[in-house]
C-alpha cells in the first residue's frame, strides 16, 4: 500500500536515512524501532510527503509521491506528529472541524461526532485544547489523524507519555483500523507495545537493520535451550536429561537442556515422564524483544544522535 524504495536523506554532509526500503501492506501494523536520532521521524516525514528524499522513492498504491502528486496523496495519509500541534485557543470540535474542511470531508459534523464518540471525547468537545491533559490532547491528535478515514496511518510515538488506560484505547483503535484494512506504521520506543501491536518490527539506525515479525526476530537470538518445569525437585531427573544434553543443568524449578534438534523435544518429554517426572511446563527459551533490539543495535555499533530537526 505504501512503499519506500532505497530512500536516502542527507542533511548537509550527514546521512539521516540510508537506503531504506520498506513496504507496509494493507491490514498490517509495522513498528519502527530505533534509538534517538536513528532517522525514524525523518523516515515518517518522507513517507508523509513532508520532506523529499535525497534519492529513492515513496509510492502509494503504485503512485510516486512527488511535488505534483503530493497534495492528492497526502489526503490518503493520516499523520500523527510527535508534538500534538493543536490550536490551543480553539476547542476540540473546532480543531477537528478545521481539519475536516482541509480534508474536504462530506458531512463533517457527523464525522466529527462519530470520532469524538469513538475516542470518548464527546464530553470535551467544547473544551479548548489548551486546557486538556496530555492524554486528552493525544486523543484529539489521534482523532485528527483518523478523521478522514485514511487507508494509511503514520504515527510518531502515539502512546508516548500516556497512561495505561489511554494507551489501551489507542491500541484498540489501531487494531480496529488494521482490521478495517489500514496500513499502519508506528514509530515507538516502547518494545512491549511493538510486540503487542505490530505484525512486523523494523529496526532502524540510519539503515534498516532488521525487519520481521517480532517472534521471528526473537527466534534469531534463540539459545536453543528448552526449559522443563517439573513438580518437585528437578534434580532427580537430571540424569535422564543429560542423555539428551551432557551439559543439562538445573535452572531454578526447571531443567535447562540444550536441544540442537527441535524434533527431539517429544522424546525428551517421554523420557522424563517414564522416569516419573510430573511435567508442568515445557518451553523453548526465547529472548525478549528488548534483548533482540539491544543485540541488533549493539551489533551495528550504534549510538544515539540528535535528529536534524527543530522539534526534538
Amino acid at each position: 500500500m505504501i512503499a519506500a524504495s532505497h530512500l536516502i536523506r542527507r542533511f548537509g554532509s550527514r546521512i539521516a536515512v540510508n537506503d531504506l526500503s520498506l513496504e507496509i501492506r494493507k491490514s498490517e501494523i509495522v513498528a519502527l524501532l530505533g534509538p534517538n536520532g536513528a532517522g525514524k521521524t525523518t523516515t515518517l516525514r518522507m513517507l508523509a510527503g513532508l520532506i523529499a528524499p535525497s534519492s529513492g522513492t515513496v509510492t502509494i498504491d503504485g503512485v510516486e509521491l512527488t511535488r505534483v502528486t503530493g497534495s492528492a496523496l497526502r489526503a490518503r495519509i493520516g499523520f500523527l506528529t510527535e508534538a500534538p500541534g493543536l490550536w490551543d485557543r480553539l476547542t476540540v470540535r473546532e480543531n477537528l472541524a478545521i481539519y475536516a474542511e482541509l480534508y474536504a470531508l462530506a458531512g463533517p459534523d457527523r464525522v466529527i461526532d462519530r470520532m469524538l464518540e469513538t475516542l470518548e471525547l464527546a464530553d470535551r468537545a467544547t473544551t479548548r485544547t489548551g486546557e486538556l491533559s496530555k492524554g486528552m490532547r493525544q486523543k484529539v491528535t489521534l482523532a485528527r489523524a483518523l478523521l478522514h478515514n485514511p487507508p494509511i496511518l503514520l504515527l510518531d510515538e502515539p502512546t508516548s507519555g500516556l497512561d495505561p488506560e489511554v494507551t489501551r484505547t489507542v491500541r484498540r483503535l489501531l487494531a480496529d483500523r488494521r482490521a478495517a484494512g489500514c496500513a499502519i506504521l508506528v514509530s515507538t520506543h516502547n518494545l512491549d507495545e511493538a510486540e503487542r501491536m505490530a505484525d512486523r518490527v523494523a529496526v532502524l539506525q540510519e539503515r534498516l537493520i532488521a525487519v520481521g515479525p517480532p517472534a521471528a526476530l526473537r527466534q534469531r537470538l534463540t539459545t536453543g535451550r528448552v526449559l522443563v518445569r517439573v513438580m518437585g525437585n528437578p534434580a532427580s531427573l537430571l540424569k535422564v536429561a543429560r542423555k539428551f544434553d551432557r551439559d543439562a543443568t538445573i535452572d531454578g524449578p526447571a531443567l535447562a537442556i540444550q536441544m540442537v534438534e527441535e524434533r527431539r523435544i517429544p522424546a525428551l518429554v517421554s523420557a522424563l515422564v517414564e522416569a516419573g517426572g510430573e511435567i508442568l511446563e515445557v518451553r523453548q527459551e526465547m529472548p525478549a524483544l528488548e534483548d533482540v533490539y539491544m543485540h541488533l543495535v549493539n551489533e551495528h555499533g550504534l549510538t544515539a544522535r540528535p535528529e536534524p530537526r527543530a522539534d526534538k
Binding site: L50, I51, S71, T81, L90, E94, E101, A104, A310
Partner: protein, 264 residues
C-alpha cells in the same frame, strides 16, 4: 477554496479568542483619526489662530480643491484631510503586519505547522489564507474608522470640505491604493515570516516594508510632491501587480522541508 476558507475560519476564531492581537491595529486607527482632528480643530482652537492665516499652509494647499468653492481655511482643511486620509489608510497596515509576520513562524513555534502541512493543503492556499487572515480584520477595523473619519469631517469642517472629500481621489485611495498597499506589505511580511527563525526578526524586517510609503507621505506633507488621481491609480494598480509577483515569490520561497527541519 474550501481549504482557504477553513484556514481563514481558524484565523478568525483564534483572533476572536485573542483580541489583544488586534489592539495595535485598533490603536493605530484611533490615533490616525485623532491626529488630523487635533491638527485641524484642536490647534487652531488652542492658539486662537485660523489655519487660513498660515501662509505656508495656504501655499501647500493650493494643489487641492481648485474645482470647489472653498474658503482659504476650507482649502487647507481639505488638503490636510486628504493627506491624513492617506496616512489613515496606510498606518493600520503596520499593525496588521505583526499578524502576518507571525503567521508562519508562529505556527512553527506552536508546532501546529507540521500537521497542517501533512494535509492536502497547497502552499498557495496556505499563504493566501494567511494574508487574508491578517488583511480582513484590519480592513474591517479600517472601514469602521473610515466611516468615523468622514462623519467627523462632515461634523467639524468648513462648508464644502466634506463634499470635496467625496472625490475620485479619495475613492482611489480607499478602494485601490489602501488594499493594494496592504496586500503588498502583508505578503512581504509573510515572505519574511517563512524565511526567518524568530517572530521578532520577522516583525522588525516587516516594518521596513512601510518605509517607502512613509517617505511618500512625508514628501506630500512638505510640498515636495503631490500625487495626482492618475498617479495614485497607477501606483495602486502597480502595487496589485507587485502583490501577484510577491505571492508567486512567496510560494517559490516557501520550502516546507526547510521550515520543518532547519528552523530552531
Amino acid at each position: 477554496m474550501r481549504r482557504v476558507r477553513a484556514l481563514l475560519a481558524k484565523e478568525f476564531l483564534d483572533l476572536r479568542r485573542n483580541r489583544a492581537a488586534l489592539v495595535p491595529v485598533a490603536m493605530i486607527t484611533v490615533l490616525s483619526i485623532a491626529i488630523p482632528f487635533a491638527v485641524v480643530v484642536g490647534i487652531p482652537a488652542a492658539t486662537g489662530q485660523s489655519l487660513g492665516d498660515d501662509p505656508g499652509l495656504q501655499r501647500l494647499s493650493a494643489v487641492v480643491g481648485s474645482e470647489y468653492e472653498l474658503s482659504p481655511n476650507g482649502r487647507i482643511e481639505l488638503f490636510l484631510f486628504q493627506q491624513f486620509l492617506m496616512l489613515f489608510i496606510l498606518t493600520p497596515i503596520t499593525g496588521a503586519m505583526s499578524l502576518a509576520a507571525h503567521a508562519v513562524i508562529g505556527e512553527k513555534q506552536t508546532r501546529t505547522l507540521e500537521p497542517m502541512l501533512a494535509t492536502p493543503i497547497t502552499t498557495l492556499e496556505l499563504l493566501v489564507a494567511k494574508v487574508l487572515g491578517a488583511l480582513l480584520p484590519t480592513l474591517a477595523i479600517s472601514v469602521v474608522g473610515l466611516v468615523l473619519y468622514f462623519v467627523l469631517i462632515a461634523a467639524v469642517s468648513d462648508v464644502g470640505v466634506f463634499r470635496a472629500m467625496l472625490s475620485v481621489r479619495s475613492a482611489i485611495l480607499v478602494l485601490v491604493l489602501g488594499p493594494a498597499a496592504a496586500l503588498v506589505a502583508l505578503q512581504g511580511a509573510l515572505v519574511i515570516s517563512s524565511r526567518v527563525n524568530d517572530p521578532r526578526t520577522a516583525q522588525q524586517f516587516a516594518v521596513l516594508l512601510i518605509m517607502p510609503l512613509a517617505a511618500a507621505l512625508v514628501g506630500q506633507f512638505v510640498g515636495r510632491m503631490w500625487m495626482s488621481v492618475a498617479f495614485l491609480a497607477f501606483v495602486g494598480l502597480g502595487l496589485f501587480g507587485v502583490w501577484v509577483l510577491l505571492t508567486l515569490l512567496s510560494v517559490a520561497l516557501f520550502e516546507r522541508e526547510s521550515i520543518l527541519t532547519r528552523w530552531r
